[in-house]
């Protein structure tokens, strides 16, 4: 399958690493990270697990935090692309957002009251029904094109960007805002603890002593634009979506296929879109959650498909932001490719003799023209985005 590149003209991000893209990059390049015990909810679990919360941000009461974070990142991305609200209204603007909790009917307080035989206030459920992330962005920016909330678990954000590029190529939209958003709450916190894949210390992706993931929250958004509109506006492409691939393991609900067959297929599809060879890839932003299984499979596939190509995980700075991860990491990949500098893989200290390679120990300059961002998810979904360098600044 051959497709053509789609321009990325704007980026937006909010997560534990920072409230904007420049703030996040500063944190990444400085090696700053601040996992801490949750402050927005309490837990009686005997073991405290560190998380990466977005501090100093309060969502409006009528919206789920997930959707509010999505709007915040979208606002930065549209501004970065140079779009005013008036300009957007004259275009077919689509919205494609990945999430895991943004459309789930799972309010604990409501459930607790119902179970207790009370007649709980419907407001929490109405808020969920009014907070579909893609629909909220569409309302906030008066986007008239298709809306899609992708719920492919932890690959959602990556899939959303890949699908959005397809919509542009297909002429369905002039512009698409795409990425991922998720909030951190008690339900996901205890859910992941129950699966026994969380680390009670700061996460250590690809490290010998890794014990699991730390959860995080945030949103990462990208503005994708048709060449017709971009040329007319004279907008600079910060990067291009060169390829997208996705494939199922068809193996297990929560564990990746040990030989990474689905990930290999997704990588192959992404590279084939624009006939880019593996040795042309400058670096890979790995999923790198810090769980033993994920990092084992991923490092095996990276070593076989991209020998010698540097890779890193940025989850050491953000935590695992679930449906937002693909969006946030797409933003980071684009920004790092643009700057020609990739940050060290935070939390990595000791090489694991069972893994075929190791991630970056320190920041490194890169000169190539392509970078990959990949996501592995519950349900055996594997998704990969290939980005190309944009116009010179």
């Amino acid at each position: 399958m051959t497709t053509w590149p789609v321009a990325i003209t704007g980026l937006g991000c909010i997560c534990a690493a920072g409230g904007t893209v420049p703030e996040c990059l500063d944190s990444l390049y400085a090696g700053r990270r601040a996992p801490a015990h949750p402050t927005r909810f309490v837990s009686s679990h005997p073991t405290p697990f560190p998380v990466f919360e977005v501090r100093d941000y309060r969502e409006p009461p009528e919206l789920l935090r997930t959707s509010a974070l999505a709007v915040q990142a979208a606002r930065e991305a549209f501004a970065d692309a140079g779009f005013s609200p008036e300009e957007l209204r004259g275009l077919r603007v689509g919205v494609c957002v990945g999430t895991t909790v943004g459309s789930a009917l799972n309010d604990e307080g409501f459930c607790r009251a119902h179970r207790a035989g009370e007649e709980p206030d419907l407001f929490p459920m109405e808020r969920i029904l009014n907070s579909n992330p893609a629909a909220v962005i569409a309302r906030a920016f008066k986007c008239s094109g298709p809306c899609q909330t992708v719920v492919n678990a932890c690959a959602s954000g990556t899939d959303a960007v890949g699908l959005a590029a397809s919509w542009i190529r297909g002429g369905i939209c002039d512009v698409t805002i795409a990425g991922g958003a998720d909030e951190l709450g008690r339900i996901t916190y205890h859910g992941f603890i129950s699966l026994m894949i969380t680390d009670d210390s700061p996460c250590k992706p690809f490290d010998r002593d890794r014990k699991g993931l730390n959860l995080g929250e945030g949103a990462g958004m990208l503005v994708l634009e048709s060449e017709q509109v971009r040329v007319r506006r004279g907008a600079r492409a910060r990067s291009f979506v060169m390829g997208y691939g996705s494939a199922c393991d068809a193996y297990h609900l929560t564990a990746p296929q040990p030989d990474g067959v689905g990930l290999r297929q997704a990588v192959a599809e992404a590279l084939s879109c624009c006939a880019v060879a593996a040795d042309q890839v400058s670096f890979v932003n790995a999923h790198g959650t810090g769980t033993p299984d994920n990092d084992r499979v991923e490092s095996r596939v990276l070593a076989e498909l991209f020998p010698g190509v540097p890779y890193h995980s940025t989850k050491g700075y953000t935590g695992h932001t679930l449906g937002a991860a693909g969006g946030i990491e797409a933003v980071f990949t684009v920004a790092c490719l643009e700057r020609g500098l990739i940050p060290a893989s935070a939390g990595f200290e000791n090489a694991d003799p069972e893994l075929a390679g190791e991630p970056l120990r320190s920041n490194r300059e890169v000169a190539g023209g392509f970078a990959l961002s990949q996501s592995l998810a519950f349900g055996g979904s594997n998704s990969v985005l290939l980005f190309g360098k944009g116009d010179a600044a």
Binding site: M1, S103, G191, A250, E269
Partner: protein, 356 residues
């Protein structure tokens, strides 16, 4: 725009299981509405609901293999097997097939069960099994694992617009040649949570039958089921019908553009706040039909509309609307083009135009 073909249909709902049951319900214009008991502040209440039985899945999957599969995923599996069988693709190489599933609310029963484990067992005793199965794409994962589908997989949750929204991306996969076929489906389930919300929304006097276009009173009845289609690019061969176009988005101040030569298949489902928008969408003299009283009020109903349209187009005859004013009963009219229309909120719309 790439035209698609509908090659197979797999449906399960209150009308029964399979195309024949669905076709009979469409022809007869009636189904039996079931119910669900739900705890409320005033004791246990019985809420009318269209229920779907997944017993038919045992024709395809051993009962033993389904022990840990919840009702939501069973619905998806049943719809998938039926659609592939109908398309004569069961047992075929599925290497170039993609999987797209739309659901308004996901696995609500399992989601609630997970919360229950957290509430009743404490923070240290949350159920990992319920948590893993509560993610929206659990159904797609179970379908992929059971059928061995290794192509791309997508699950979409856009509430009422889930089905047309997902169809936009399914169509793109085919248009770009990512896959040669898409197993496209929609599922929603009736659960205690959904029933309780319906009870609170409608009050103690529940409607016993749906009157889709009554803007003056609430007559929605919650439903569940699975409606799956096997879609390919239009490269000839036997098919139910074609899908000519898919459009979805928001109208901010403008007017909805609808084809003037198509039968409008309206997604009105007894929710009074949407009834007027549907009525206003029908042009003067336009022909329209509505089949939601055969499967109930749920986001996945949009996929049942597509399946019903496909059956009507294959036979060349529209089914009569089971309820509503005479305007919405095209009766014995021939039909060669159908536009399925879904509306939500003040501005969301979707149209899917299908033809012979």
């Amino acid at each position: 725009m790439t035209r698609l073909l509908v090659k197979g249909i797999g449906v399960a709902g209150a009308f029964g299981t399979g195309v024949e049951s669905f076709q009979n319900a469409l022809a007869e214009g009636r189904v039996t509405v079931g119910s669900i008991d739900v705890a409320t502040g005033e004791g246990v209440q019985t809420v009318p609901a269209y229920r779907a039985d997944t017993a038919g899945l045992e024709e395809f999957v051993p009962k033993r293999a389904l022990r840990r599969v919840d009702h939501y995923s069973k619905l998806a599996l049943l719809g998938s097997y039926l659609a592939l069988k109908d398309a004569e693709m069961l047992g075929a190489d599925l290497g170039r097939i993609g999987l797209v599933i739309a659901s308004g609310y996901g696995a609500t029963a399992t989601t609630y069960a997970f919360l229950d484990s957290l509430i009743s067992g404490g923070d240290n005793c949350a159920s990992p099994t319920h948590f893993a199965n509560s993610v929206h794409n659990a159904a797609a994962a179970n379908v992929a694992i059971t059928l061995g589908i290794r192509g791309p997989s997508l699950t979409v949750s856009q509430f009422d617009m889930s089905v047309p929204s997902a169809l936009v991306s399914a169509r793109q996969w085919l248009a770009e040649g990512r896959v040669d076929a898409v197993l496209f489906g929609a599922i929603d389930e009736v659960s205690e949570l959904v029933a309780y919300l319906q009870h609170r929304r409608c009050g103690p006097r529940h409607a016993v039958s749906m009157v889709p276009f009554d803007a003056g009173s609430e007559s929605s009845i919650i439903g569940e089921g699975a409606a799956f289609l096997v879609l390919t690019r239009d490269e000839g061969g036997p098919a139910y019908c074609g899908i000519d176009s898919v459009a979805t988005g928001n109208i901010f101040g403008g007017e909805l553009s609808l084809p003037d030569d198509a039968l409008l298949l309206l997604g009105a489902d007894g929710r009074s706040e949407l009834a007027r928008r549907y009525l206003d969408a029908v042009p003067a003299g336009g022909k329209a039909a509505c089949y939601t009283p055969l499967y109930g009020c749920m986001p996945a109903a949009a996929a049942f509309d597509l399946a019903a349209a496909a059956l009507a187009l294959k036979s060349g005859r529209a089914f009569a609307s089971p309820a509503g004013p005479s305007l919405f009963a095209p009766g014995k009219g021939d039909v060669s083009r159908i536009c399925s229309l879904r509306l939500a909120g003040p501005s969301e719309y979707a149209t899917v135009v299908m033809s012979c």
